[in-house]
Amino acid sequence: MRNKDGLDEMQKGRRDTIGNQMFMFMFYALLIDSGLYGAGVRWLNYPANVMVIISACISIYLVRLIALHAYHPPKTQNRSVITLIIAIIVSIALAIALSMGHIPEKTNDNSGIILFIVSAAGLLGILIAAVIKKATSRKDEEDE
């Protein structure tokens, strides 16, 4: 019943649907952004604006996948949420510790803000997904 990713048929169907939706969403978001850029509206300097849109789309995609149980194959679904929360806390602590350290030099290519946005979006996505997953699996158990 599983494909090469280890996902079952329902998980694969859901993943495909969500993937298509998010791809179209990202396409239109980038199209609107380029239109705004051409019209002189610059909400963030290039390439940070593109990175924000891509990060937002990938975060929403991952959160939706995890919330609908379409991310982990059936065999690996029994992992503890506590491990995930500990990993998030350690990551945040590491990020704070690094930000307090010595910064060698300033650059003008927005690489700092891009890294920050990608990391923040990733952490936020994982946190939201963990909460949603917990809530939905509790609801499923009540239904059973």
């Binding site: 019943m1 599983r2 079952d8 048929e9 329902m10 194959p73 059936p74 699996s137 499923d140 059973e144």
Partner: protein, 70 residues
């Protein structure tokens, strides 16, 4: 699509949980839950696997006629 109570009762008759049945047919527990709730239409391959594990025929579990309701 309504709930598939026949799968649920056949599973209960075999004293299996959704997790046990899901593991036996190689899908996630959420998939079995969705099938029983009528939220997901399984493929014929998965239907056959469920029937084999529960010792029933496709008609008994999945056919929507009055003859097979019991």
């Amino acid at each position: 699509m309504g709930k598939n109570l026949r799968v649920k009762s056949a599973r209960a008759a075999k004293d299996m949980s959704q997790k046990d049945l899901a593991e036996a047919v190689g899908v996630a527990r959420q998939t079995m839950n969705a099938i029983e709730k009528g939220d997901y239409n399984p493929s014929i391959k998965l239907c056959i696997a469920i029937c084999k594990v529960l010792g029933k025929t496709l008609d008994q579990l999945f056919w929507e006629g009055e003859d097979h309701e019991k």
